[in-house]
Amino acid sequence: MTFFQALSHFLREAGLNLVRGWRVSILAVVTIAASLYVGGVFLILSHGISSSVENWRGEARVVAYLEAETTAVRVEEIRRRVESASWVIGVETISSAEASDRFSETFPEISDLVASQGEAALPPSLEISLAPDRVEPPVLQDWLEQLAEFPEVAMVDDDRRWLAQVDVFASLLRLLGLVLGVVLLGAAVFTTATVIRLTAHVYRREIAVQRLVGGTEFYIRGPFVIEGVLQGLLGGILSAMAIGFSFSLLAARGPAQLAGGLFALEPLSWRLLVQVVAVGAAAGLLGALLSLRREI
């Protein structure tokens, strides 16, 4: 028997096994699909958040809020001091009036709050753009602390601090997805193994006859291995389709930003979907091999 004859036999028998035991096969396929779906969704979410963080990191600025009574001359002096640092790539002076305008644009519903306080309701500030790669983090930290010690500087707000927190959140989300995915995938492997074991039990007499007449282990076990792989593939495809569907639902809800701008929906990659299907097939294969070790 040639390899292709054997493969054709395996596929035919595995297909028949799947159809004959369709109830348990569906159970295995759905378990694999569910585990991959959960893992995949968490992966997309964490990836989306990480992408947002990366985008924001490029735009991240340090804002030095100045005391309201700081004179324009003094503001200019501080600005020049700030600009002298080699890692500063730009400084924008925001006057109280400009700050109020921005607030009104961003939060129009509550713009009255600021308008009623007059022009000096919000303090002037310096928005400092940095090139963090030009400086060692401890040096930058020292510099920020020195900036905060200027008597005219009321507060220094570093965007990068909360970006780091969001980054940690994304990592936790990824870890949670990984743990959940692995646990569920373990359950899927176990389910596949049980289904294959059941199938092998149903066909035990036929297996015995095949052994009796001189069937090799490769020939006897092949259909069961392929059955596991097919279950995994079907589960993977189902999961990829569900992920794609969920993605399209999310995409339909907003143009590019979701969850208050926290989550950037990037185009769904084919590579990820292929990986989901491949992991499904691998889970099916593992389940089949585990069951064959014990049952056949």
Binding site: M1, T2, Q5, A6, H9, R205, E206, A208, V209, Q210, R211, L212, V213, G214, G215, T216, E217, Y219
Partner: protein, 241 residues
């Protein structure tokens, strides 16, 4: 040719076979007799390597069966036909498919498999039932299908473990006649039975087991129809070459 040299088989503390010695030349018909639990099935299983001997050596056509690697055992089994009492047919497959397991394993295409099935089934008188399912057959017909399956590889050795155990006396006679016919064409037949009343012919041999030991080895004289004892003990290694 099959030779047993001081063969023993234990399952844990239980001794299934002990000090079994014999030599079966090619083309002989052997009745393996003994009460239930005497070790007949174990002895047969040792020949087609469903079990391995705990001690001693078994040669089948000059090959030491015990030393055949596990992955090569299927190739041994393709040279030995085996028939059981319970027929071991697969209900969901047709007679033709039941008979052609080995050709399918060997990659034969369907037309060739049909031809081989027809040939094997003709030997047992069932070539008109290729497309029937086992459930549609009588017990005797099912056993004939099982024999056809064993014959499809044209084996040199045919092993039958209580093949008439599930059949009435008349069908049993038919099946035994069929084994005689197969033997006449040159196949060595070893037929295990606990039924002492099965018909015998001249030159047929009887090996009798009791409690795992070979207690009798006789060949019927074709002229006097009397049994001539064969000396018990290890086969002469020189004479067996």
């Amino acid at each position: 040719m099959i030779q047993f040299f001081d063969v023993g088989k234990r399952f844990g503390d239980r001794v299934a076979l002990a000090d079994v010695n014999f030599k079966i030349p090619r083309g002989q018909f052997v009745f393996l007799r003994g009460p239930s639990g005497a070790g007949k099935t174990t002895l047969l299983k040792l020949i087609y390597r469903a079990e391995s001997p705990s001690e001693g050596q078994i040669l089948v056509n000059g090959r030491n069966v015990g030393s055949i690697p596990k992955r090569k055992v299927p190739f041994l089994r393709r040279t030995i036909g085996v028939v059981f009492q319970e027929f071991s047919l697969i209900e969901r497959r047709t007679v033709s498919d039941n008979v052609t397991y080995l050709p399918r394993i060997l990659g034969e295409r369907r037309p060739e498999r049909r031809r081989l099935a027809a040939e094997a089934l003709a030997k047992v008188g069932l070539d008109h039932l290729q497309d029937a399912f086992p459930a549609e057959l009588s017990g005797g017909e099912q056993q004939r299908v099982a024999i056809a399956r064993a014959l499809i590889s044209r084996p040199q050795i045919l092993i039958a473990d209580e093949p008439t155990g599930n059949l009435d006396p008349e069908l049993s006679r038919d099946i035994i006649s069929l084994f005689f016919e197969i033997n006449r064409q040159g196949t060595t037949v070893i037929l295990a039975t606990h039924n002492p009343s099965l018909r015998r012919r001249g030159r047929d041999r009887i090996l009798k087991l009791e409690s795992g030991r070979l207690v009798e080895d006789r060949i019927m004289d074709p002229i006097s129809a009397e049994d001539i004892p064969v000396a018990l003990g290890p086969p002469d290694p020189v004479a067996t070459r």
